[in-house]
Amino acid sequence: MTDVRIAGVGLTKFGSHPERTGRDLFAEAALAAREDAGVSRDDYEEIFYGNFMGELAEKQGHQGPVMAEAAGLDCPATRYEQACASAGVAFRQAVATIRSGAADVVLAGGMERMNNLGTAEVTQSLAIAADELFEVRAGVTFPGAYALMARAYFDAFGGDSEDLAHIAVKNHANAMQNDYAQFHREITVEDALESPVVADPLTLYDACPITDGASAVVLVSDDYAERHGLDAPVSVTGSGQGGDKAALQDRPHLARTPAATKAADSAYADAGIGPDDVDVAEVHDCFTIAEVLALESLGLYDHGEGVGAAARGETTRDGDLPVNLSGGLKAKGHPVGATGTAQIVEMTKLLRGDHGNSDAVPDARVGVTHNAGGTVASAVVHVLEVDR
């Protein structure tokens, strides 16, 4: 099996850019990744592109060819839709394609335009990731679904809103060093606890913002990187995906996300590592409680132990296992269909040393990314390792 290397990465600045078209956002990220990679245009063989709500936000279906043009490339392009895990599954297919020997150079990425819709429309659009018949019609919003999980978690394992507030504080602090992040504003536990209730027990500061942005990654085979003398020190050594019932009501436990456990177990086995080998993690904290569920599903914490990790200082910048040094979805922002590959971009830079927070993990060798769709009915986990 061919090893996969990350030759280049690119991001737009995340934030509110309601006037920018999706194709312009993706062009910026793709061109940045291509420049970072330094690979000949003619060598790109395929594009794997993630997008969630393009039909709703821009009335644009069939986005693959539109985004190939935007990226300045002449090769087949396919869109992947898996809610908030859209770019994660796109990246996973890109990895599989190179491993199979079917291609030596591909581009994976994602884009979401959201702020051109109002808050109400965005809320409605995000809700389509839930089960339409059995959840949306019963008033389940995206924050509402995670609120149902948060209350179930507190009941099953303990923890409280103050524990969750520490996660928001941590991720806002991490984003201060990330030029691409949506927020550059430190917050306090009190700010978080006093912010307006969105769906109790979750408040505004438990939730990620509404974000426009794009991300892109150039993947190459080990062989190609060697032949062309590319500087590509980060490899993708593990990939895994898991699935679960779409609706929360059809799952045995409301405060666990076994799809992510399946994805992590596969990715770890693929990479030949275990959770103890992980030095740094980027996880899908669309809500603060989601970071907790992620840490526990990844095997980095036992069930019930993840909720206090930030408050205990274990997952902060100076902790033993820094989590979401990018700022996470919470403070970096969450352009839904771009998030999966944005996590890969952040992790690549953290490991190769050119991230604003790389100095927090100077010896890190193994990084893990965790990208989730809906209430983790879909999960994608990747293991990245850097040559040291």
């Binding site: 109400a120 919003t141 179930a152 109790d200 009501q249």
Partner: protein
């Protein structure tokens, strides 16, 4: 919009004749289904829903989607009814009296925003 299978199920609940689908291994699921989502068995039979359920988790939603604009704030809950769990809006009970373990009955109400039928939980009469 007509949703064959689901509409009949909601109508049965409104008539007090709610049911779920059971497979030979006792897994519960809700229509429309052609096989058990838990084990794949194709033989599904309709079984009566228990009269009451117990709230497992809930949230009071303050920021609604447009389809619930006129309802907010409202409480959505997941409640267990024997082998199945249902998701519905809690009615006839103040939000601060909703709790984990609250016993509820299931029925059908109207969404004040869309006039659509929706699943509602009400406090079970003693």
């Amino acid at each position: 919009m007509t949703e064959t299978g689901y509409d009949e199920w909601l109508a049965a609940i409104a008539d007090g004749e709610g049911y779920y689908l059971a497979c030979p291994d006792g897994h519960g699921s809700l229509p429309p289904r052609r096989s058990c989502p838990h084990c794949g068995a194709a033989e599904l039979t309709a079984e009566p829903l228990p009269e009451t359920g117990e709230i497992l988790t809930f949230t009071e939603v303050h920021v609604p989607a447009p389809n619930f604009a006129d309802e907010a704030p409202y409480v959505t809950a997941i409640a267990s009814f024997g082998p199945v769990k249902l998701t519905g809006v809690v009615r006839d009970l103040p939000a601060d009296e909703v709790d984990l373990g609250t016993t509820v009955s299931v029925g059908v109400g109207e969404n004040a925003t869309t006039d659509e039928q929706l699943l509602v939980f009400r406090p079970a009469s003693e």
